[in-house]
């Protein structure tokens, strides 16, 4: 098996690797002498942090951490940047919202140390493949006023990362490296360069005049930020090879030029080929500040310009303004961003772009008809299976959901009160889907606990917040303290599976890392002890460590009793349900697979139609456990009313 350390950090300049976009980013950072990487995992950015965590000691980096949240990640790396480290921070798009507060100040500061550099990887997720909202992070560039680069494939991921470090080191500004899912998670041939050793110095300067966000220093720093450093950034952008005109001499009868960036560039290429059409294309890699001169010189030559970009009209609004400022009479096609009109928009504001959408838009502009009638293919519908994402076999959240459903039913019938659920961000979000339907309001990371308070403080209902341990540490703690001091009668269920499960089981402050590499330099915080100190009523229930046979009944009774106390005595309760993520368990020990005793099974269906374990199906009128899917959680053994499920296979 190939080891990730060898794959990423070995190899001579000029060799080719088959890299994921995110792997190419790691390589690019190593080729820039990166000292520090801090991150909060979030799809599609997570692999970068995972790889750094794995290799950082071996490659001799100063520090890598999976931080508690993105704000903290920016701050840890920010001070390291101030003291002269070459730093990188990673997050997904919505992570930038969390990190935005310190980033405003950081963008204005101007470290005095030669090697200070900071690149911020922000990975957007158009189409919400794995996100709660679709968000175009490019809009932040205008308020932060910091340079940004956008690669369109894995090779560019490596090159643009290096360029980003170079720019940051020169300008003393953080530089955003913006990717999307189809770039971070594309895999391609990547030509590697030479690894660069760290140049961090042990002596450094932390003068307050350039590092302290305080009015007497900040206004001066801000002037320097905008009129000096961003002005210089514009000069770099105007002359950057990352902004280039492709096929500049191409002629088409429509006198049409195209402006695009990132992955959309590859879709333009594909669509033009398909339509057998040529068009000069300005590909923008340096996306902030935009090269005004270059853009104006480009669009001047055409009667019509088509701006191709995913999600928001970030390029288009600026190009429209530039055309106006320079009194250009050019027709600009794109999303018609001021209209908010689906009909007037040639490309969608919502969802991922693809070559087909670009080709359809080009056909509208040019009235070209391709040889292939692909509109007909596009409209053809088949009766496909509706498949929703499901929790893994053996996932402890399923047990919690199943138990919670029973307990809530009992509470409702006893009190006649309504019960509402507030969800958070994690695998357990899937409990919002049938048959559980545990979701009434849900926003973003850490919001469930405060959402529950809004209804609890204004009604007589039972309000249950469902949050995972990683999310609780990330941003749930302030909301819990808010609830305690405002005496909010809510029930908080912390589903403590010990890891940041959804993004690949990265550690959080509560993770028990003793079996892993990070165990040697991490201390795990005991969640119960932390909660005890807050004054909340806390109950803790564990399953796996004890393999408690009555776990299911105990949890149900606990939720029932506590639910009643919240309703009757208006107390705030926290139940910590401690069951480790099954994906992490099976990396340490072989699962104890369960089997059905066909003699005892009367096909009641509880295990496969109510508990909905994906490893269990009905086969020849009995329940059947697929041993290739079963991960040995053993809950089916307990919920089976006929004791028909066992650990041993009967011959």
């Amino acid at each position: 098996m190939e080891d990730i350390y060898n794959k990423i950090s070995k190899g001579k300049a000029g060799e080719k690797r088959f890299f994921l976009g995110n792997e190419a980013i790691v390589r690019g950072a190593l080729e820039s002498g990166v000292d520090v990487y801090t991150y909060y995992p979030g799809t599609p950015s997570s692999e970068v942090g995972e790889i750094f965590m794995d290799i950082f000691k071996k490659v001799g980096m100063k520090w890598v951490e999976s931080s508690i949240n993105e704000k903290v990640a920016i701050e840890v790396a920010g001070a390291a940047y101030a003291r002269g480290a070459t730093t990188m921070v990673g997050m997904k798009n919505v992570g930038l919202n969390v990190a935005s507060d310190p980033l405003f100040a950081l963008a204005t500061t101007r470290p005095n140390n030669k090697n200070s550099a900071m690149v911020i990887l922000v990975a957007d997720d158009p189409q919400q493949h794995s996100s709660a909202v679709e968000m175009d992070s490019r809009n932040y560039l205008k308020i932060f006023k910091i340079p940004a680069l956008e690669p369109s494939n894995p090779q560019e991921c490596l090159e643009f990362t290096k360029e980003a470090f170079k720019i940051s080191r020169e300008l003393k500004l953080p530089v955003i490296l913006r990717t999307v899912t189809m770039v971070s998670h594309a895999r391609s041939n990547v030509r590697i360069g030479e690894i660069k050793q760290s140049e961090i110095e042990s002596e450094f300067d932390l003068s307050k005049e350039v590092n302290v966000a305080l009015r007497i220093y900040s206004l001066e720093m801000k002037k320097n930020h905008i009129y000096n450093r961003m002005n210089r950034a514009l000069e770099l952008s105007e002359n950057s090879s990352l902004n280039r005109i492709e096929n500049g001499k191409a002629k088409n009868e429509y006198e049409l030029g195209i402006i695009t960036s990132g992955v959309s560039y590859s879709y333009v290429h594909e669509a033009l080929n398909f339509l057998e059409m040529e068009a000069p294309t300005l590909k923008i890699g340096f996306i902030n500040p935009l090269p005004e001169k270059l853009i104006v010189e480009f669009i001047k030559q055409y009667k019509e310009v088509f701006i191709v970009e995913e999600n928001d009209a970030y390029l288009e609004t600026q190009v429209l303004a530039m055309a106006h400022k320079n009194s250009l009479k050019v027709k600009i096609h794109g999303k018609d961003p001021f209209s908010y009109s689906k009909e007037k928009s040639l490309l969608p504001f919502v969802g991922e772009l693809n070559p087909t959408k670009v080709a359809l838009a080009l056909m509208k502009i040019t009235r070209l008809e391709p040889k292939m009638d692909f509109k007909q293919i596009d409209e053809k519908k088949y009766d496909v299976m509706a498949r929703k994402p499901i929790l893994c076999a053996g996932c402890p959240h399923r047990t919690t959901g199943y138990t919670l459903q029973k307990a809530v039913k009992k509470i409702k019938s006893r009190t006649g009160k309504k019960v509402y659920f507030y969800q958070d961000i994690g695998c357990y979000t899937l409990l919002a889907l049938p048959p559980f339907d545990f979701a009434n309001v849900k926003y973003c990371m850490g919001s469930s606990i405060a959402l529950a308070q809004g209804v609890a403080q204004t009604s007589e209902s039972l309000n249950v917040a469902i949050i995972g341990d990683g999310t609780f540490y990330h941003s749930g703690i302030p909301a819990l303290l808010n609830g305690i001091y405002n005496k909010a009668p809510i029930l908080v269920l912390i589903l403590d599976n010990g890891w940041i499960g959804m993004t690949g089981q990265q550690p959080n402050p509560g993770s028990d890392t003793r079996y892993y590499k990070e165990g040697s330099y991490k201390k795990n915080i005991i969640l119960e002890e932390l909660l005890e100190g807050t004054g909340a009523h806390v109950n803790v229930i564990k399953y796996y460590e004890n393999n408690d046979e009555n776990y299911f009944t105990k949890l149900k009774d606990l939720i029932y009793q506590i639910g009643l106390d919240v309703l009757e005595n208006r107390n705030l309760h926290v139940i910590v349900i401690k069951n480790e993520c099954i994906q992490k368990i099976i990396k340490r020990q072989a699962p104890a697979i369960r089997y059905v005793d066909n003699e005892l099974c009367n096909n009641c269906g509880i295990c496969y139609s109510q508990f909905l374990c994906p490893a269990i199906d009905e086969k020849e009128n009995v329940a059947f456990i697929d041993s290739n899917i079963c991960l040995g959680c053993g809950i089916c053994e307990e919920i089976c009313p006929n004791n028909a499920i066992n650990r041993e296979e009967l011959e």
Binding site: E2, S46, H185, R187, D383, V384, A386, P389, L430, D626
Partner: protein, 193 residues
């Protein structure tokens, strides 16, 4: 054999090993001198939900997503999943459809009948290969998860690759007993008519 501008669409369910499959194929194609690009879906969307991946190779770098109506081969790791990817098939019926006969049922939803699927497929393509990949995997290795190695063995004849290329990258991806099982499955795939 040499192919240019070749597009493979792989459709299946999260957890079926699509990513490893395209990693092995992509790597093998790269060392044979091709420019390769693939795209994949990670994270929440992979857990039991539908997954569509693309693998494209040739003399130039392509977009990670192809145009509809342009794929050369569509692979479905689960029978009904073929229906999710048919819009990528070429209208001239030349696209190869390679389908695992494995059916993953969903409780309470009627699984499309084989007749329904076949009627559609015959309209879409003249090159349909429905293969009992999971049966072969279980029969020869005792593990359903080696089905992708059976598939790799089978599709080798359509691709500009050698047996040893794929064996090499199987060994980069698996070790010990798992590797042994996958190599065995791969060889069973090679034998498949």
């Amino acid at each position: 054999m040499s192919l240019d501008n070749y597009t493979i669409v792989i459709s299946g369910l999260g957890g079926q090993g699509l990513i490893r499959l395209i990693q092995i194929l992509g790597n093998a194609l790269m060392i044979n001198g091709y420019e390769v690009i693939t795209s994949e879906t990670h994270g929440l969307s992979q857990r039991g939900g539908k997954v569509t991946c693309f693998l494209r190779f040739g003399s130039k770098v392509n977009a990670p997503i192809p145009m509809i109506g342009t794929a050369d081969m569509i692979i479905a790791l689960e029978e009904s999943s073929i229906l999710d990817a048919l819009k990528y098939a070429k209208p001239n019926k030349s696209t190869k459809l390679v389908i695992s006969s494995y059916e993953k049922q969903i409780l309470g939803i009627e699984y499309p009948s084989l007749k329904y699927i076949l009627d559609i497929l015959f309209e879409i393509s003249n090159n349909i290969y429905i293969l009992p990949l999971t049966d072969i995997a279980v029969k020869h290795t005792g593990n359903i998860k080696t089905m992708n190695s059976v598939l790799l063995g089978y599709i080798l004849k359509f691709l500009p690759l050698n047996k040893k290329d794929l064996e090499q990258f199987l060994s980069y991806n698996f070790s010990g007993k798992t590797l042994e099982m996958n190599l065995k499955a791969f060889n069973e795939g090679l034998k498949l008519k």
